[in-house]
C-alpha cells in the first residue's frame, strides 16, 4: 500500500515550512509513495524545485497552494476566515495549473508588495469558485480541501454543533459540484484540541453527511519529527512573539506530529480515526481510496501541464516581425555587417561569413532566433530611450549579438568563441545581461512592460534565506532574550553560514568573547546561549521572504501569467514567484537588466560636456581630441558636441598613459589598490591588455600564482614556455599562461579534437567530483592517440584541472574592459565632467571624499556650496573670479547634506535664486536646523558678501542659533502677488561682527560632519606640521625612492581589504590618502600582530614600512608598524641630536576630532 501526502509545506513556505523539496521527495519515495504534493503557503515558491525533486525521485508531482480565504461575514478586505488547500488537476493540458496560477495572482492582487501591509494575501470564496472550472469545458480543474485550518475546521472546537455545519454548507453552496473535498487530519493532539482525532472525526462525519469525499492528510510541515522544534522557532519569527508568549496564548502547534508520516503510520492513523468515529473497515478503505483517487486526479505532467523546459518567447508580431524569425535575424545580421564592417573584403570577409553562418546554424537548430530578436528589441528600446546600455557576460562571444547591436565587443577581434555562449550540446536559453545606467533601471523596466505589454512581462524574484545574523536574531527572539543582548551577539557574526555557528565559535577570534560566555555562565543563561546556538543552526538558509531580483526581467508571450503566479513588488510592478533557478525548467526567458552606477556616471559626464561645450569644435578643443587631417575632429563627436562613447576608438594613447600612471581612481574595475598595483606591473598598451588585466584580477588567478609567471613572460624576464608547440597559437596572447576559458576550450580541442562545443561541456565538468574523472580519462586517451607524449599530457591536464574551474571567460573580460576603457578615456579628456559624474552617482568602492581629493590632486577647483549656484546635482562650472579664473571647477551639490530633506531640496532648487535670507525662508520654507547647517557650510557666503556686512560665517551661525530660540515673528510672509521691495539683505548687512573667523580646521570639520567630504582643504593638511616633525614621506614622493627604502607614511584610511591569499594566511591591505595621492600598504602576519587593534579601528594612520616597487609607475609599502595619528603621545618622534626630547606644544585638534556621525568618511570594513 502506498499513501499520497496531499498537503505538504516545503521550506519555501517562508517562516512556516521546514524541509526542502528534495528531502521530502526522497523520504516519500523511500517509503514507496508514487506521488507527492507541494502546497506552499500563499504561492508556488517551492513548486519548481518540487517538480525537479519529484522527477529525480521518480514521483509524480502534485501541485497546489495553501491559501487564506476571506471571511464572507467579516470585513472583506482584511478579515480572513481560514485557510484551504487548493490542488490543480493534472493531465488536462495545463488547465488546472493555469487556474492555480491565476488564483494565486488574484490572492496577491490587492496587497501592496511591502512588508506589513494591511491587506492579507487571500481570495474571496467567489474568486476561488470562479477559478475551479475550466472556462470552456466547465469541467473541474481545481479541488479545494476544506480542512482543520478552514473556517469549518476552526469552528470545530467546543461543543458547537451547528456552526461548522452552517459554514460547511456555505462552501457547498458556493463551490461548483465536484470541486470540494473534506480534509481529515489528526495530529494526535490532546482530546478536544485542534488537530485532535476528535476533530478529525467531526470533519469526517460532516463530509459523510453531505456526500462530499473525504481525504486523509497530515498537514505536513517537516519531513521528520526533528523538524518540529524548527517549526516552533519559525512560528515565533512569523508572529514576532517569543516561544513562552506563543505557548501561553496558545498559538503554537499543539505538538510535533506534523511530519511526513509513512504510509503504514497514515493507515494506522486512519484506523484510529475510524475506530473513534465508530466506523468500520469499509469506511477506512473508502477514506484511503478517496485520498488516492484525488491524488491520481492531481498528478501533474510537468511537460504537458506546466511546459517543463519548453522555452517560450514573445510572439513574432510583438517583436515587430511578420515572417520567419530566422530569416529576419539573418537579414538584420546582414545589415549589421555593412554597419559594423563597412567595406570588408577578402579573407576577413570570408572569415566573417563563415563565423556568421556557423552561429546562425546553431541558433536555428536550437530554435532561438526569436530569442535573439527579443533581446535585440529590448536593447534597441533602451538605446532609443537615450540610456547607455552594454551587454556583459558570455553574450559578447557572439558575432550575431555584435551585428544586431546587443553587444559592443567584436568577437572576431578578440578571438571569442561562440560555443562558450551557446552550442548544440546545451539547449538552455543563454544568458544575455544588459548593463544600463543605474539611475534609469526602473524606467527601463517600466518601458519594457509598456513595450511588450504587462501580460508578457514580469520581474523575477529572489529567495532571501536566513544567514547567520538574521538567524541569531530570530532564534534569540524565540527564546525571549533581551534585544540588546541579541544585537550584541549578532554584530559579531559575519560571513559564515549559521550552520557552522558552533564550529565558528571555536575558531573565529572575533567570537572568542561570546564563546567564553557560552562556557562560563550560570546554568540558565548558559542553557539559553546553548539553545541559541542550536536554534540559529536550525534556521540556517531557510527562506525568509522573496524580493525583487536586482536585475531579472522575465519576458514571455501572452500566456506568461498562466505559467507563473505574480505578486506586487516593492516597485509597484508585478513580480513572479519564481526565482532564477526556476527560469530554465519553466522555459522562461530571463533578461538581466543590471543597473550599473558607472554607466550613470559616464552618461552624466557626457551630458555635462555637451552642456558646457555645446558644439563639436568646443568639445574637441576642451578634450584635446585629435582634429584629424581635415581639421573636422573625430566622428564620435556629433556636431552638437555629443560624444558617442561606444564609437570612441579603443586605441587612444593618452588614455593608456593615464592607466599606466596608476592614477586610475574612479575608473571602472581598475581603481582598487590591488588593481592599481597590477596595472602598474602590467603597464597596458592596448585593449587586449585591459581584458587580460581584468581577467587576471580574480581570486582564482591571484591565489594560484598565475600572475607572476604571466608578468615575467610579458616583460621578458623569463622565456615563454609552451607545453607543446601545437598549443602556442592558443596560449600566445597570454605568454603561455592559461588565463581564459576560451583557451581551455581550445586546448581541449587541440589535444583531443573534440570540437569546441564538447570542449565547453568538458570545461564545465572540471571540478565536478564525478564528471571530472571521466573527462580526464577521455582527455588522456584521445591526446595519447594523437601522439602527444605522456609528459605533455600530464602537464596539460594539470593545467586544465587547476585553472579550468576558475579561469575567466574572455568574453566577460572583454565586456568589462569596454566601460573600463571608456571611463579612463573620460578621465583623461574630460576630468571635470567625469569626476562630477562620479560624485553624483558614487559608483566605486571608495568614500566620496577620496574622489574629491582626486579632483584636488588634479588641480580641479572644488567650488563651495552656494545657495544660488548649487543645484540638486553636481555641476561643472567655469570659474569666473579668483586665482582659478577661467578653469573648469565642480560646484558642490545641495544633495547629500545631513538633515536636509528631499522636499526641502526640491523647494530650494525651485525657488532659486534668492536675494536674501528672508527670501529663502519665505519661499523654500527650510527648517531652522537646515538653514543653520547651510550657513555652517558657507552656502550663504556669497549673499553675505553681496550684502556688504562686516560679520563672518561664525557670526552668521551664531545669529541663526540665537534666532532659533526666539519665537517666530508673524507677518513676515509676502502676500501673493505683491512684490517685496528689493532692499538687499538687511539681516545679513546688519549682522553684528564679533566672533573670530572659523579656522580652516573648523570649516573642514563641519564639511566632514555634514557632507562626509572635506571641501575647503584636504583633511590631512592641518596635520602637516606634525607630519613634518615626524619626517613623513608623501605619496607623490614615494615613486622617486629606491626599492626597499624605509619610510613613514601617514593619511586617512580610504580602503581596507583582506583578500583570500595563497597559503591561507590573512593579508591586510590598507590604503591611506594623504592629499597628494594614495598610499597602498600591505600588512603581513607579523605587522598585523604589531599593529593589533589599529588594523581595523583607526581612521588616521601613521605607517612605517619599506617601499616595494610594483612596476614602472607603481609603488607600495610593506608595513612593519602602524600608529594612530590622533594619539600624538604614542608617535615615534625622532630624537634630536641633543638626546633630549624637545618640548612639544599640544597639537590642536584635527578636522576628524569630535566627528562620530559619518562612517562614509573613511574606508573601514571589508
Amino acid at each position: 500500500m502506498s499513501f499520497t501526502h496531499l498537503h505538504v509545506s516545503t521550506a519555501f513556505s517562508a517562516h512556516y515550512g521546514v524541509s526542502w523539496p528534495e528531502e521530502l521527495a526522497a523520504a516519500a519515495a523511500a517509503d514507496g509513495a508514487t506521488a507527492l504534493a507541494c502546497t506552499d503557503r500563499d504561492g508556488l515558491y517551492g513548486t519548481v524545485k518540487h517538480l525537479k525533486a519529484c522527477m529525480a525521485a521518480g514521483l509524480d508531482p502534485v501541485v497546489g497552494v495553501d491559501l487564506a480565504v476571506f471571511d464572507d461575514d467579516g470585513d472583506l478586505r482584511t478579515q480572513v476566515g481560514g485557510r484551504v488547500v487548493v490542488l490543480a488537476h493534472g493531465h488536462n493540458n495545463g488547465a488546472g495549473y493555469r487556474a492555480l496560477c491565476r488564483l494565486i495572482s488574484d490572492a496577491h492582487a490587492r496587497t501592496t508588495g511591502k512588508a506589513g501591509g494591511a491587506v492579507p494575501v487571500a481570495v474571496t470564496r467567489a474568486e476561488l469558485a470562479s477559478r475551479t472550472l475550466h472556462p470552456e469545458t466547465l469541467k473541474p480543474v481545481l479541488t479545494v480541501l476544506v480542512g482543520p485550518d478552514s473556517d469549518v475546521g476552526r469552528a470545530m472546537g467546543g461543543r458547537r454543533y451547528l456552526r461548522p455545519r452552517t459554514l460547511f454548507k456555505r462552501w457547498l453552496d458556493t463551490m461548483p459540484p465536484g470541486t470540494i473535498a473534506a480534509e481529515v487530519v489528526s495530529q494526535l493532539s490532546p482530546p478536544g484540541e485542534p488537530l485532535s482525532t476528535a476533530h478529525a472525526v467531526r470533519m469526517l462525519k460532516l463530509a459523510a453527511e453531505h456526500g462530499v469525499p473525504a481525504v486523509l492528510s497530515n498537514a505536513v510541515r517537516y519531513v521528520a519529527e526533528d523538524g518540529a522544534a524548527t517549526a516552533d522557532v519559525l512560528d515565533s519569527a512569523r508572529t514576532l512573539k517569543s516561544l513562552p508568549e506563543l505557548s501561553a496564548a496558545p498559538l503554537l502547534q499543539p505538538n510535533g506530529q506534523g511530519w511526513l508520516k509513512s504510509a503504514a503510520l497514515m493507515l494506522q492513523l486512519g484506523k484510529e480515526i475510524m475506530h473513534s468515529a465508530g466506523y468500520g473497515a469499509a469506511d477506512l478503505k473508502s477514506l484511503m481510496a478517496q485520498t488516492e483517487a484525488l491524488a491520481d486526479r492531481c498528478r501533474v505532467d510537468p511537460v504537458t501541464d506546466m511546459g517543463w523546459k519548453q522555452p517560450v518567447v514573445p510572439e513574432a508580431s510583438v517583436i515587430g516581425i511578420a515572417g520567419d524569425a530566422l530569416v529576419e535575424l539573418t537579414q538584420r545580421c546582414e545589415a549589421g555587417i555593412s554597419r559594423r564592417f563597412p567595406g570588408i573584403i577578402g579573407k576577413p570577409a570570408e572569415e566573417l561569413r563563415s563565423r556568421l553562418d556557423h552561429e546562425l546554424r546553431i541558433i536555428d537548430s536550437l530554435g532561438f532566433a526569436a530569442y535573439f530578436l527579443t533581446v535585440a528589441e529590448v536593447s534597441r528600446m533602451i538605446l532609443d530611450m537615450g540610456v547607455r546600455a552594454a551587454a556583459r557576460g558570455s553574450g559578447a562571444s557572439s558575432l550575431v549579438n555584435y551585428l544586431i547591436d546587443v553587444s559592443q565587443v567584436n568577437p572576431l577581434q578578440h578571438d571569442l568563441i561562440f560555443e562558450r555562449f551557446l552550442s548544440r550540446d546545451r539547449a538552455t536559453l543563454p544568458d544575455i545581461d544588459i548593463d544600463v545606467e543605474s539611475a534609469e533601471r526602473h524606467n527601463v523596466y517600466r518601458k519594457i512592460f509598456e513595450r511588450f505589454g504587462s501580460e508578457r512581462v514580469t520581474l523575477m524574484s529572489m529567495q532571501n534565506g536566513y544567514r547567520a545574523r538574521g538567524a541569531v536574531r530570530d532564534a534569540g527572539l524565540a527564546l525571549g532574550m533581551e534585544e540588546a543582548e541579541i544585537g550584541d551577539i549578532a554584530k559579531q557574526l559575519w560571513r559564515f553560514s549559521a550552520r557552522n555557528f558552533r564550529e565558528a565559535l571555536e575558531e573565529k577570534p572575533e567570537l572568542k568573547e561570546f564563546a567564553g560566555r557560552v562556557g562560563q555562565r550560570g546554568f540558565s543563561e548558559n542553557q539559553q546561549l546553548d539553545l541559541l546556538v542550536d536554534l540559529t543552526e536550525r534556521l540556517d538558509r531557510l527562506p525568509r521572504h522573496i524580493s525583487m531580483h536586482p536585475c531579472g526581467v522575465i519576458l514571455g508571450d501572452a500566456t506568461l501569467l498562466d505559467r507563473t503566479p505574480v505578486q506586487p513588488s516593492g516597485l509597484g510592478l508585478p513580480m513572479s514567484q519564481f526565482d532564477k533557478h526556476d527560469m530554465d525548467p519553466m522555459g522562461m526567458l530571463k533578461l538581466d537588466v543590471l543597473g550599473v552606477r558607472m554607466q550613470s556616471a559616464m552618461a552624466f559626464a557626457v551630458r555635462e560636456v555637451i552642456r558646457l561645450h555645446p558644439s563639436k569644435a568646443e568639445v574637441v578643443a576642451a578634450g584635446a581630441h585629435p582634429v584629424g587631417p581635415d581639421g573636422a575632429g573625430p566622428d564620435y563627436i556629433a556636431e552638437n558636441g555629443l560624444i558617442d562613447l561606444n564609437a570612441v576608438p579603443l586605441d587612444d594613447e593618452p588614455t593608456y598613459e593615464l592607466i599606466r600612471s596608476t592614477h586610475t581612481l574612479g575608473c571602472f574595475q581598475i581603481e582598487s589598490p590591488g588593481q592599481r598595483e597590477l596595472i602598474g606591473k602590467l603597464a597596458p598598451r592596448e585593449f587586449n591588455d585591459l581584458i587580460i588585466d581584468i581577467s587576471l584580477f580574480r581570486p582564482g588567478p591571484m591565489k594560484s600564482d598565475m600572475v607572476r609567471p604571466f608578468l615575467e613572460h610579458r616583460h621578458g624576464f623569463a622565456p615563454e614556455a609552451y607545453p607543446h608547440p601545437d598549443l602556442k597559437p592558443v596560449l600566445k596572447e597570454t605568454h603561455g599562461v592559461t588565463v581564459f576559458h576560451e583557451q581551455i576550450l581550445k586546448t581541449f580541442d587541440v589535444m583531443t579534437g573534440c570540437g569546441l562545443a564538447r570542449a565547453d561541456e568538458f570545461r564545465r565538468a572540471l571540478g565536478h567530483e564525478v564528471l571530472e574523472g571521466k573527462v580526464e580519462e577521455f582527455f588522456r586517451k584521445e591526446s595519447r592517440a594523437r601522439r602527444f607524449s605522456p609528459a605533455v599530457v600530464d602537464k596539460v591536464w594539470g593545467t586544465l584541472k587547476a585553472f579550468g574551474s576558475f579561469g575567466f571567460c574572455k568574453a566577460h573580460g572583454a565586456a568589462f574592459a569596454v566601460p573600463t576603457y571608456q571611463s579612463a578615456w573620460l578621465k583623461t579628456h574630460h576630468p571635470e565632467a567625469f569626476l562630477a559624474g562620479l560624485w553624483e552617482h558614487d559608483p566605486g568602492m571608495y568614500p566620496k571624499r577620496l574622489l574629491v581629493a582626486e579632483a584636488r590632486r588634479l588641480g580641479i577647483p572644488i567650488l563651495p556650496l552656494d545657495i544660488n549656484r548649487s543645484h540638486a546635482e553636481y555641476r561643472v562650472e567655469r570659474v569666473d573670479t579668483g586665482p582659478d579664473r577661467g578653469k573648469l571647477g565642480i560646484r558642490l551639490s545641495l544633495n547629500g547634506i545631513y538633515g536636509l530633506s528631499g522636499t526641502e531640496l526640491k523647494r530650494i532648487v525651485a525657488g532659486q535664486p534668492y536675494d536674501s535670507l528672508a527670501d529663502l525662508r519665505a519661499r523654500s520654507r527650510l527648517s531652522k536646523p537646515s538653514i543653520q547647517r547651510l550657513a555652517q557650510l558657507g552656502a550663504f557666503d556669497s549673499l553675505h558678501r553681496a550684502a556688504g556686512g562686516t560679520a563672518n560665517r561664525a557670526d552668521l551661525v551664531h545669529h541663526l542659533q540665537t534666532l532659533q530660540s526666539r519665537p517666530q515673528r508673524k507677518g513676515l510672509d509676502v502676500i501673493e502677488g505683491q512684490l517685496s521691495l528689493p532692499l538687499g539683505d538687511v539681516e545679513l548687512k546688519n549682522l553684528k561682527a564679533g566672533l573670530p573667523e572659523p579656522t580652516l580646521v573648523d570649516t573642514v570639520r563641519a564639511e566632514l560632519d555634514l557632507m562626509a567630504v572635506d571641501v575647503s582643504d584636504h583633511l590631512m593638511a592641518s596635520h602637516r606640521p606634525l607630519l613634518d616633525r615626524l619626517g613623513v614621506t608623501t605619496a607623490d614622493k614615494l615613486l622617486g625612492l629606491r626599492n626597499g627604502t624605509e619610510v613613514l607614511v601617514a593619511g586617512v584610511r580610504v580602503a581596507t581589504q583582506t583578500p583570500p591569499m595563497r597559503g591561507g594566511r590573512r593579508v591586510v591591505f590598507i590604503s591611506i590618502d594623504d592629499g597628494t595621492g594614495c598610499v597602498d600598504s600591505v600588512f603581513f602576519h607579523e605587522a598585523q600582530e604589531l599593529a593589533g587593534p589599529l588594523l581595523f579601528g583607526t581612521r588616521l594612520l601613521l605607517i612605517r614600512g619599506t617601499t616595494r616597487r610594483t612596476g614602472p609607475r607603481g609603488i607600495s609599502i610593506s608595513a612593519s608598524m602602524a600608529w594612530d595619528l590622533s594619539c600624538t603621545g604614542t608617535l615615534p618622534f625622532p630624537v634630536p641630536a641633543s638626546g633630549i626630547p624637545e618640548d612639544r606644544e599640544q597639537d590642536p585638534p584635527g578636522p576628524l576630532d569630535g566627528i562620530s556621525r559619518n562612517l562614509a568618511i573613511t574606508g573601514l570594513g571589508g
Binding site: A228, P244, N255, L531, D534
Partner: protein, 111 residues
C-alpha cells in the same frame, strides 16, 4: 488531580498499547481501552540543547490515559485513571498524573 512523575513498569500489547503496570509494589490491569495523544513540552525551558537531528521527543511526548484496577482486587473496586508517558529515548514509562487521587498519595514532586 495530582501531578506526579515517577517511574512505572508497563507491559504492552505487540501494538504498543499498555496492558498491565507495576506501580508502588502493586500490579494493575488496564480495564478499559486507553486513549493516546501527543502533548507539547516547553522544550525551550526544559532542555539544555536542541541541535539539529535531535530526533523525536523534543517538542512533544506521547501520553496514554489508562483506566486500571489492581490486578488482585475484584472488579468491584472503582478504577483509577492514570496518565502515563513513555520516554522516546529510553522507552521507559513514567506516571505523569493520577486523576482519581484518593489512593496511595505519595510524595508529590513538582507540579
Amino acid at each position: 488531580m495530582g501531578m506526579f512523575s515517577e517511574s512505572v513498569d508497563v507491559a504492552c500489547t505487540p501494538a504498543g498499547q499498555p496492558l498491565e503496570l507495576d506501580w508502588a509494589g502493586r500490579r494493575y490491569t488496564v480495564c478499559a481501552e486507553p486513549v493516546r495523544w501527543y502533548e507539547r513540552r516547553q522544550w525551550w525551558a526544559e532542555e539544555q540543547r536542541a541541535p539539529l537531528g535531535s530526533g523525536p521527543g523534543l517538542v512533544d511526548h506521547e501520553i496514554w490515559r489508562v483506566q486500571v484496577r489492581p490486578a488482585d482486587s475484584a472488579n468491584t473496586e472503582s478504577p483509577l485513571t492514570l496518565d502515563l508517558t513513555r520516554h522516546v529515548g529510553s522507552g521507559r514509562w513514567r506516571l505523569l498524573r493520577i486523576h482519581d487521587a484518593l489512593l496511595p498519595v505519595r510524595k508529590p514532586e513538582s507540579a
